[in-house]
Amino acid sequence: MITSKLREAILCLRPGRVTLKYPFEPHDPEGDFRGYPELDADKCIGCGGCATVCPARAIMIQDIDQNTRRIVRFLERCIYCGRCADVCPEDAITMTKRFELSTDQGREDMVAECEVFMATCQRCGQCYKPPSALDKIMEPGFRDDKLKRGGDDSPYEPI
């Protein structure tokens, strides 16, 4: 009994104080950490690959007109998986080390938009090279977050 308790006590006392006074004493993440995904609008060609692979469907592509494509990212939904950075053919997306992203400004603060000039794009989807057959663009050219509600003959109305 007593030796057991002593062993436990030694186990406890050996490491010393390990907790940090966190907000006052910042702690940086490790090398390949996947933090805030930063989009370099200059590099973006608007291929829509990131929107296709995003598991959380946090990226929405809207074609405003023939020449402009808007990329809206709802970062409150982002799960920081880094798939968008993986598939981006132009390396326009980088996963930074920023992780202190909470905000008290409401959800608008977590929405990032950028508009890309598309010139005379045919929206064939060819400029995006999917890494595997499973990552192909499902609806080339256009994508938003409206999902089919159970098919055309479903008895349920859209909400």
């Binding site: 308790k5 006590a9 406890c12 006392l13 104080r17 907790t19 006074k21």
Partner: protein, 297 residues
Amino acid sequence: MTFAINIGMALFIGPLVAGIVRKMVRARVHSRQGPPIIQPFYDLFKLLGKEDLESSPSLLLRYAPLVAFAAILAAALLTPMGLRPPLGGYGDMIVFAYLITIAAVAVMMAGLICASPYSMVGASRELMMHLVVEPVLIICLVTATIKSGSLLMWDMAGWNYVNGLSISMVVAGIALFLALQAQVGKLPFDIPEAETEIMGGPFIELSGPKLALFQWAFFARQIVYASVLAAIFIPWGIKFIFPWNVAAHLLKIIVLIVLVGLIDVVNPRLKINQAMKYFFGVIAVALIAMVLALLGL
């Protein structure tokens, strides 16, 4: 002045020592920074200002925390804390034991009135713990009475100091120390509150000032129980000149409470029937002390 010392010890040293234990013992063993030493005061003051939520409004429930608080303070006035206790001339050890009991009753009352299943279980556990822990205190004090021939706690302390320690008193002191853990409601005997089992037991429905008073009373209770053990069974230092006698007493109770805090962090919570079994053992030790005293040892 003794009034001020005893009340001050109970009201202010109690939370302070608790803070010391949390920072220096508990957090240290947990390998973490721990809260500031005066965190218990922050907590108490914050609670005093918080909303008082009542699920079963009742006059008795409103007064139960006050009664617990007052009973502990009154008991503190009967307890020798380095000096002759201020009300020592008006109550003996039986009165003391019953005042402590009042505090326990107030806790049970609070639990019973709330009538939540958790508070009922908590009250019933509090009661059972009280039933097995209190006899240890009584038997140890009776042992001291047999040795000193007086029921007054100050006379017991003085007698022990003058006549030196005897075997029976040492055994009784050990028994009382074994019970101290439960008297101050620390692990492995914080069974009535058992946060992870019954969510605070009798206190589940209490909030704001009510909870603050109970907590404050329990901080004071630590000091009172430790003082009994320190003054009567470890009589060293009580004949020092003021203020050294008070300082010596303070040192003794801090050592005791730190020890209690150490045991607290290296044990899981026992079940009520296991605790009862344990305390029947402690009662047996205390009875041995008493028999030794009767034999004149």
